[in-house]
């Protein structure tokens, strides 16, 4: 049993509760930073992929998890960030300027798109963003002179202070680049959540009327949330482009949008952890499936056949299971397990019970 006694306001303001918790996270960071020495290149690449998805998840989490605005169109912003990054690099601008710029541009686009979307709630916003994601595909094809259209674009490595950072040539350097971005974005996110802006996001998510009554400007808050969310997503997109090396109009399809939303739901909406947990699931599920398929194939003696759609089918099942049995996602489950250990042996079964509520229409006049 472990109880943290609070003696100082800073304990609630700084990101960690006590030295114990801080040291755990520092150890985790050290282990991850040293990954190139305990992982082979293949799994290092997979880990890089997971981190990129985590950044994208953090981006969507700002908007959907904390501001409550469901977006089914974030692949459009991944695409924008990716293309902005590569096009500017091709124009000869150094990467260290291009990369931040790619995110900022995506953020500005996101904030601009938020303006007409401000009046839309729930399902209407979801379909609005879904349409954006579908249109992005066509827009990339139509702007072929800039984007390369269906033929797509290629990008080799980029140069940072004279060092070559390339997914294939120098996978370690690329991994550290991605890790650095992940850490910076996460720190910014943590800061956001302990400041008035992050709380106003939560306020807008939980009750727009009372947020207004507390002086939170709904339109402004949503626009900023869109902007920040899209900026982070843009960075993830830029990294995805570098990771993939080649991409075209179909790389960031609407399916990616849906996958991203599902990912943060599985991870746990409304928590930073959720984005990472979700990314781990989405990143390692294909590996896990192919390994278990081989295993099953070896046991029952059949040859391993490709089952199209298997990944999505399993993914869908996992998601359904989570929504039904653990709506707070992996993070929610993790919290319960942690509390169980911290309170041992005083954990009660209904500690996390949620109140049953009846749905009331929003169509009330």
């Amino acid at each position: 049993m472990r109880i943290v006694f609070k003696t100082d306001y800073m304990q609630d303001i700084r990101p960690w509760k006590d030295g114990y918790q801080l040291s755990l996270y520092l150890i985790l960071l050290a282990v991850v930073a040293l990954a190139p020495w305990w992982l082979d290149d293949f799994y290092l690449g997979e880990l890089t992929n997971v981190l990129i998805w985590a950044i994208a998840g953090l981006g969507l989490m700002i908007l959907t998890g904390h501001t409550g605005q469901a977006s089914l169109g974030h692949a459009a912003f991944l695409a924008f960030g990716c293309y902005a990054n590569v096009i500017l690099i091709e124009a000869g601008v150094p990467f260290l300027i291009v990369f931040p710029l790619a995110g900022i541009l995506t953020g500005i686009i996101g904030a601009l798109i938020a303006i007409p979307a401000l009046r839309l709630h729930g399902i209407y916003l979801a379909i609005f963003t879904l349409a954006l994601s579908i249109l992005m595909d066509d827009i990339i094809v139509l702007t072929e002179p800039i984007t390369g259209g269906v033929a797509g674009k290629y990008i080799g490595g980029v140069e940072i202070f004279g060092f070559l950072v390339d997914r294939w040539g120098t996978p370690r350097a690329f991994y550290w680049l991605v890790l650095a971005v992940t850490v910076l974005v996460t720190l910014g996110y943590i800061n956001l959540l302990r400041a008035p802006l992050g709380r106003s996001f939560i306020a807008v998510r939980d009750s727009e009327v009372s947020a207004q009554a507390m002086g939170v400007d709904i339109a402004r808050t949503k626009t900023i949330s869109f902007g920040l969310s899209c900026a982070v997503t843009g960075w993830a997109g830029a990294l995805m482009g570098l990771y993939a090396g080649a991409f075209n109009n179909e790389t960031f399809s609407v399916v990616i949008s849906i996958q991203l939303l599902m990912m943060i739901v599985i991870g746990g909406l409304g928590s930073i952890h959720g984005a990472f947990f979700g990314a781990i699931v989405i990143g390692f599920l294909p590996q896990f499936l192919s390994i278990s398929k081989e295993y099953v194939g070896a046991v029952i003696g059949g040859n391993t056949v490709a089952i199209p759609g298997l990944e999505f089918g399993v993914f869908g099942l996992i998601l359904i299971a989570f929504i039904l049995f653990e709506p707070m996602g992996i993070y929610g489950r993790w919290l319960k397990i942690r509390t169980w250990f911290e309170l041992f042996p005083f954990y009660r079964k209904d500690m996390f019970r949620r109140q049953k509520s009846y749905l009331k229409t929003e169509r009330l006049r």
Partner: protein, 254 residues
């Protein structure tokens, strides 16, 4: 000059007149109650002051400002805080976070300084926290500080709503049925709190309430409404004795 002035305010929903040429003013430092049967338009008056509805005609002035010129979020910035009839708390946040949202109107930092959590952002957080702790002490919420709203009992939620409104450091506090659904003991607590809010904190209170015991116990003046219009205005005793009020509540004597 009065703190809050409503002048000839009318609101129509389609063909229905919800508020009918209503005028009244609230003086600084008083507790002003609005009473009336269900559907009399009491909460609608609050929603007009909060700018959720645009009046059809009339003016609403607060502390020398024309409220009709600002957005709903601007009302709080002038120092008007409110609670809601059907509690509107931020369900998936802790009590502390809820109260800290109340400090939003005092925010001096911007997006950039918050993203980097600069020393000024940190200082602001400590200040906010100190103010919020005062409110927590005042309303005896210490035990619930880190609890999620979603798991709290009804009576506590009601108090948290008042606390969140107080955290904004308002000049005028609008309480929409502060005692509805509360037990007798909780209502008594609420009565003393409202008294203290006025006396110790010097905050003017405008409330809608059905519980006549609470109304006559704390309020200086009472406005009785029916069908969106003013019936009577005066001290609690005067209003309770007013023939039009008795008629509205009990029906015409036959």
């Amino acid at each position: 000059m009065s703190l809050l002035e409503l002048n000839n305010v009318t609101l129509k929903f389609g063909g229905l007149t919800a508020v009918d040429r209503l005028s009244f003013s609230v003086e600084e430092g008083e507790v002003f109650a609005i009473v009336g049967p269900n559907g009399a338009g009491k909460s609608t008056v609050f929603n007009l002051i909060s700018r959720f509805y645009d009046p059809y005609e009339g003016t609403i002035r607060f502390d020398g400002h024309d409220l009709l010129q600002v957005k709903p979020s601007g009302v709080a910035a002038y120092g008007v805080a409110r609670t809601f009839q059907n509690i509107e708390l931020f369900e998936h946040a802790t009590v502390l976070q809820n109260l800290l949202v109340g400090r939003h109107r005092h925010r001096k930092t911007n997006v950039i300084s918050e993203l980097f959590f600069t020393p000024s952002a940190k200082r602001q957080e400590v200040e906010n926290r100190e103010k919020v702790e005062e409110v927590i002490d005042f309303l005896d919420l210490q035990a619930y500080r880190d609890k999620m709203i979603a798991g709290l009992p009804y009576g506590v939620r009601k108090v948290v709503e008042v606390a969140r409104a107080l955290a904004t450091d308002p000049k005028l506090l609008l309480l929409d049925e502060p005692a509805s659904g509360l037990s007798v003991e909780e209502t008594t607590d609420m009565r003393w709190w409202i008294d203290d809010i006025r006396r110790q904190m010097g905050i003017t209170v405008l409330m809608v309430e059905h519980d006549m015991g609470l109304v006559s116990g704390v309020s200086d003046r009472v406005l009785a409404m029916a069908d969106g219009a003013k019936l009577a205005l005066g001290t609690p005793a005067e209003v309770q004795a007013h023939p039009a009020v008795i008629e509205a509540y009990l029906g015409k004597a036959s």
